[in-house]
């Protein structure tokens, strides 16, 4: 008995991720946490996207189901689960059935190596970034399968567009990633790393986020990645694969109910996945702002307050809106619900002030905050940009981003070489 408890506890004091430490129990716990957290994030993202987009477009968005539409994603999920599952008579049944599974599998497997903190990841692979890029590009297989198996013209065109787009933008994306990986080797031993955790630690050691490294080279590489990742996830303004006004819904035109919701889930988790890559490679991953310059106990304590304060702020917004709710008996349940939601957020905020908790969780907070910034950008793009045309998209990928990526890679390599040979021989 004692041995089992010791086995379970053994990870808590470890400075490695459970997978790297070989602790299967904690690795399983982390898998479940990541899976659950991701599902919650997708649900929250669904609500946030509709609300933020609505407010950008001078409308209110969901307001009926729950206070300010907070329960709308849940209502939608229930609706999708209860819907009739339609498969076209002419469809290739097995492939049609497999396609959403492959897409979802690819989108979720990526999170095995995403480092939410120095010890908060399922495992730390020494080929982490390679694994991520490889697995996330598997989703194109699922999309092609979906388009082909539907046996219908619109999905077929959507799938063709999507596969061509993902393949071409992956090239530019890869070049940008390589230039960031190159920067990790700028240390005394000259050895770089592909491990996601190692990349963040390299940024910590070099006292610089890679976005600012060799200004503006890091910034340009980040820009290339930021464009390519939008194309990679088929989001506006590169959402040609599911261009509603052209192809009705693109590759998932024939899908309905739960299968469709799997595509939806995959799309949003893919967005979170590529944002995590960008955050890890260029924005210092889980590092709080200025971990070296503003180091020491007082600064550590000040920054450890951030997570709690953020949640208290959200709670305050909830309470403010609770007060502003109409004082009509019809709104009583909604008002109570909103207040209850505020109380939950407030409690989470208070718990985050407990030092033992905040020490463990603040890495996750900073990581999520950076990813949330990317998610907001995604919504903002969607509210602002018209859609690219297919040939323009290809032109952008091959004629603009690819040469830029090559140039950045060569320049980064040259500058890094010069720095190591001349200034630090």
């Amino acid at each position: 008995m004692g041995a089992i408890i010791q086995y379970i506890e053994s990870y808590l004091s470890s400075d490695k991720t459970p997978g790297a430490a070989g602790n299967m129990f904690w690795a399983l716990v982390y898998i479940m946490l990541v899976f659950g957290g991701l599902s919650v994030a997708v649900i929250a993202m669904n609500w946030l996207e509709r609300k933020i987009l609505a407010h950008m477009q001078v409308r209110l968005g969901p307001m009926r189901v729950g206070p300010h539409g907070l329960l709308q994603p849940i209502a939608d999920a229930i609706k999708l689960l209860l819907k009739e599952d339609i498969m076209p008579a002419e469809a290739d049944g097995f492939v049609f059935w497999m396609a959403p599974l492959i897409v979802v599998l690819a989108a979720f497997t990526v999170f095995v190596v995403v480092p939410f903190g120095p010890t908060h990841a399922v495992t730390d692979m020494n080929i982490g970034i390679l694994f991520m890029l490889g697995v996330s590009s598997l989703s194109v297989l699922g999309i092609v399968m979906a388009g082909w198996a539907s046996n219908s013209h619109y999905p077929l065109i959507g799938a063709l567009r999507s596969s061509a787009q993902m393949v071409s933008y992956e090239v530019a994306m890869g070049l940008a990633v390589v230039s960031a990986i190159l920067m990790t080797s700028l240390n005394a031993t000259g050895t770089g790393t592909l491990s996601m955790i190692g990349i963040v630690q390299a940024q910590m050691a070099q006292h610089e986020w890679f976005i600012f490294k060799f200004f503006p080279l890091g910034l340009v590489a980040f820009f290339i990645f930021a464009v390519a990742m939008v194309a990679e996830t088929n989001r506006a303004p590169f959402d040609l694969a599911e261009a509603e006004s052209e192809l009705t819904a693109g590759f998932h035109t024939e899908y309905s109910g739960f299968r469709w919701s799997l595509f939806f889930l995959a799309e949003y988790s893919a967005m979170i996945a590529v944002s995590s890559i960008a955050v890890t490679l260029w924005l210092g991953g889980w590092l709080r702002p200025f971990p070296n310059m503003l180091s020491g106990t007082p600064w550590d304590q000040i920054f450890s307050l951030f997570p709690g304060v953020t949640f208290l702020f959200f709670a305050a917004i909830c309470f403010y809106n609770t007060v502003r709710m109409p004082k009509h008996p019809l709104f009583r349940v909604q008002t109570i619900g909103l207040a209850g939601f505020g109380v939950v957020l407030g409690l989470i905020g208070l718990i985050l002030f407990v030092p033992a908790v905040s020490v463990r969780l603040q890495d996750i907070f900073w990581f999520s905050a950076k990813v949330a910034g990317f998610m907001y950008m995604y919504i903002w793009y969607r509210g602002t940009f018209p859609r690219y045309r297919f040939d323009q998209l290809m032109q952008m990928g091959w004629k603009v981003l690819l040469p830029m990526g090559l140039g950045v890679l060569i320049l980064t390599a040259s500058v890094a070489l010069l720095q190591q040979k001349l200034w630090h021989p």
Binding site: R161, T248, P386
Partner: protein, 384 residues
């Protein structure tokens, strides 16, 4: 088409020698249930991959036999039916019909009625262009302008609602003038709308005019030359964007447009971007016309002397006005009875839609959507 006046070649059906790598042509049915065909237009596309080899429009899904109905209604009774053709520009349709019957009866609406007609019709032009802008941008993938234009269009509809009780199918005019005197505060509200709306046009333009993706999506897309426009009978902003300065408000002034000072905006290239600019400029011109009309709104009667039972003398008349989408003409043959012997409408959308094939050939699928949007068709008017 063997018209010597045009450069368009006929579509060779069944030719398989044009596709890339001798691939099979893809025949795609776009519509009648499709998010971007503005109703129930059905377009049969012949594609080589994404490239459009040719297309064919199938119409008639919204056919209600409006012209035939006209033969079985009295002149007054038919008036509300015309609102149902181009339902986003119902007031313009009403103006065209009323003026045609007035021409047949040889009466003229009094000056005050004419002024109010101009105000409401130009407001309608703005509303129609707003709807066009919103849906056109939505088709190209910009979802936000739609909500901005609908928010502002609401103000126009409020004025209509206060004036005649209806927002969409207004039946605002009567043969011989107006049925209702303007409500109290009408002039003030119209003026308020103008001051409210002027900066809004800039707001729309800010979202789109210099937007890189918007420019790339619309420049050199759906280009049509002035020659082809004239050969196909295309009118309205589409014709003007190709560089032809033809606006019936100036060319054959009707109502009392000759009293107002305004310009005809024209384009150069005849592409989608020019059509966009022309329509934006037209909105500004409409604002100026309304301002002049409401500033000089005369007092006086609003209804001319027209007989209760209208029995125009036997004969025929054609009258056309510049509707927001182009030349809207009515041809009425009277046999001296209370009902028209034959009533024919020349709807701008129907005629402009002919140009779709010419404008889309050689372009990509995504451009077909952009071109349908830029033609600004309303299926209620195409099918009647």
């Amino acid at each position: 088409m063997t018209d010597p006046n045009t450069t368009l070649s006929p579509l060779e059906l069944g030719s398989h020698d044009k596709t890339f790598l001798d691939a099979n042509e893809l025949i795609i049915n776009m519509g009648p249930q499709h998010p971007a065909t503005h109703g129930v237009l059905r377009v049969i596309l012949r594609l080589d991959g994404e490239k459009v080899l040719g297309l064919e429009c199938v119409i008639g899904y919204l056919h209600r036999g409006v012209e035939k109905i006209g033969e079985h209604r009295t002149y007054t009774m038919f008036n509300p039916y015309v609102d149902r053709m181009d339902y986003v520009a119902a007031v313009s349709n009403g103006l065209g019909y009323c003026e045609t019957v007035e021409k047949l009866l040889n009466v003229e609406a009094p000056p005050r009625a004419q002024h109010v007609r101009v105000i409401l019709t130009e407001l309608n032009r703005i509303a129609s262009h707003q709807l066009w802008l919103g849906t056109h941008a939505l088709d190209i993938g910009a979802i936000t302008p739609l909500f901005y234009t609908f928010r502002d269009r609401e103000e126009i509809l409020k004025i209509y609602e206060k004036y005649c009780g209806a927002r969409l199918t207004t039946h605002a005019f009567r043969i011989g003038g107006l049925q209702y005197e303007t409500y109290t505060g009408f002039e003030k509200e119209v003026k308020n709308f103008l001051t409210f709306f002027r900066p809004k046009i800039d707001e729309y333009e800010e979202l789109l005019t210099t937007n890189r993706i918007w420019v790339e999506r619309t420049k050199n897309v759906g280009t049509i030359s002035a020659q082809d426009c004239i050969a196909l009978g295309v009118t309205g902003p589409v014709l003007r964007a190709s560089g032809v300065k033809w606006d019936l408000r100036k060319a054959q002034p009707y109502a009392n447009y000759k009293n107002f000072d305004f310009e005809i905006p024209i384009g150069e290239n005849g592409d989608t971007y020019d059509r966009y600019l022309v329509r934006m400029a037209e909105m500004r011109q409409s604002v100026s016309i309304i301002q002049q009309a409401v500033d000089a709104l005369p007092e006086g009667p609003i209804m001319a002397k027209v007989p209760k039972v209208m029995k125009p003398a036997a004969g025929e008349v054609y009258h056309s006005i510049e509707a927001p989408k182009g030349e809207l003409g009515y041809f009425i043959v009277s046999d001296g009875s209370t009902q028209p012997y034959r009533l024919r409408v020349r709807p701008p959308s129907f005629v402009n839609l002919q140009a779709l094939d010419a404008m889309c050939r050689g372009q990509l699928v995504a451009d077909v959507i952009a071109v349908i949007g830029t033609l600004d068709i309303v299926l209620g008017e195409v099918d009647r």
